[in-house]
């Protein structure tokens, strides 16, 4: 059987709350990363606060609605980002969100590889019917990456974002189980 947690450039891990909070506190200081990943105002939290969140999450234990991973590169074994999956159990659908905290690893195919691993997990392991995501219009790099992964643009909320006096749309994308399976055939897998 295939290693579900290993891609071509990255692998999924779960880092300790200590490691995660150290990295997260540093990544939060990058307000551009924040804007790409979130529509709220940039905010900073202390390492201690973040560590408490992660510890609470660990205590809550396994929930079939929620899956989170840390991401490490295969080449350097460097911890560069995170990926979270939120499942709607009744409708067999999930939302994904991901981020690469280390800027040196932007625009080099790492995000695409993370998403491919995520799709494999969602469709092959969780057996879900579709995967959804949202992104901001001002993040064309992410849009291209998701298109490459097979996501289709399904809609947009027009001008719901206001950044530096300009309005932008929220974009909504999705991929169906059948579409993903079809793509796997093309890969000769």
């Amino acid at each position: 059987m295939k290693d579900l947690f290993r891609g071509e450039l990255v692998r999924f891990t779960m880092e300790e709350p200590e490691t995660r909070s150290k990295a997260e506190a540093r990544w939060q200081r990058d307000s551009e990363l924040h804007r790409l990943a979130d529509s709220g105002p940039a905010q900073l939290n202390s390492e201690k606060t973040i560590k408490e969140w992660f510890e609470k999450q660990t205590e809550e234990g396994f929930k079939p609605e929620r899956y989170g991973f840390s991401v490490r590169t295969l080449a350097e074994d460097k911890y560069i980002g995170f990926l979270g999956i939120w499942v709607d159990l009744i409708h067999s659908e999930a939302w994904v969100g991901l981020g690469i905290g280390e800027r040196d690893f932007w625009s080099k195919g790492y995000g695409t590889d993370m998403m491919k691993l995520c799709m494999q997990y969602v469709f092959r392991e969780l057996g879900l019917q579709r995967l959804s995501l949202g992104l901001h219009e001002y993040n064309p790099r992410a849009l291209r990456s998701y298109e490459k992964c097979g996501f289709r643009l399904e809609g947009r909320t027009r001008q719901d974002l206001l950044r530096e006096g300009r309005r932008y749309d929220s974009l909504w994308m999705g991929i169906l189980r059948e579409e993903w399976l079809e793509m796997q055939k093309g890969d000769g897998k």
Binding site: P64, E65, V87, L89, I90, H91, S92, E125, L126, G127
Partner: protein
Amino acid sequence: MKDVLKGKLVRLSAFDPEEMSKAFPRWYQKSEYFRLLNSSGQPMQSAKAALKWMEEEAGEASPANYYFSIRTLSEDKLIGELGLDVVTWPGRDAFVGLGIGEPDYWGKGYGTDIMNVLLRFAFTEVNLRRVTLSVFEYNPRAIRSYEKVGFRHEGRTRKVLNKEGRRWDILYMGILREEWLELND
């Protein structure tokens, strides 16, 4: 749209811990009821202990656990309990347990009606792929009822129960979504 919580004889109603904690000790007073539902030798619970358990266990809303009480349509009388617990989400399989605590309603088709409503709920509301149950060998009435609504025999743990100096099997039954659709279209 159809009322998915209503059958021909019964309806599923909200599981009210207050009400059920009073009903349980009354129902479980009858050792036969207890034996049909439960294989352990657990002693009876007081209403207070039952309430504590219910508030802790059955209180929290979750897409994996569904608890109902059962009422007759004609008299709106509380007669039983029902639980559906999703066992695996990737397999979309759930385990069902039901009991009619009021013996006056045994052997009259109420259980079959309850199971029919439950299966419709499981397959059309929770969108499950299969439903599983277990039943004791010494409960032929239940076995017949489950067979009637479409459950198939899938296996048994042989001689696992020890009651009245005799050993009995636990039977496992299941129904797949396709099978249910076939029967109910």
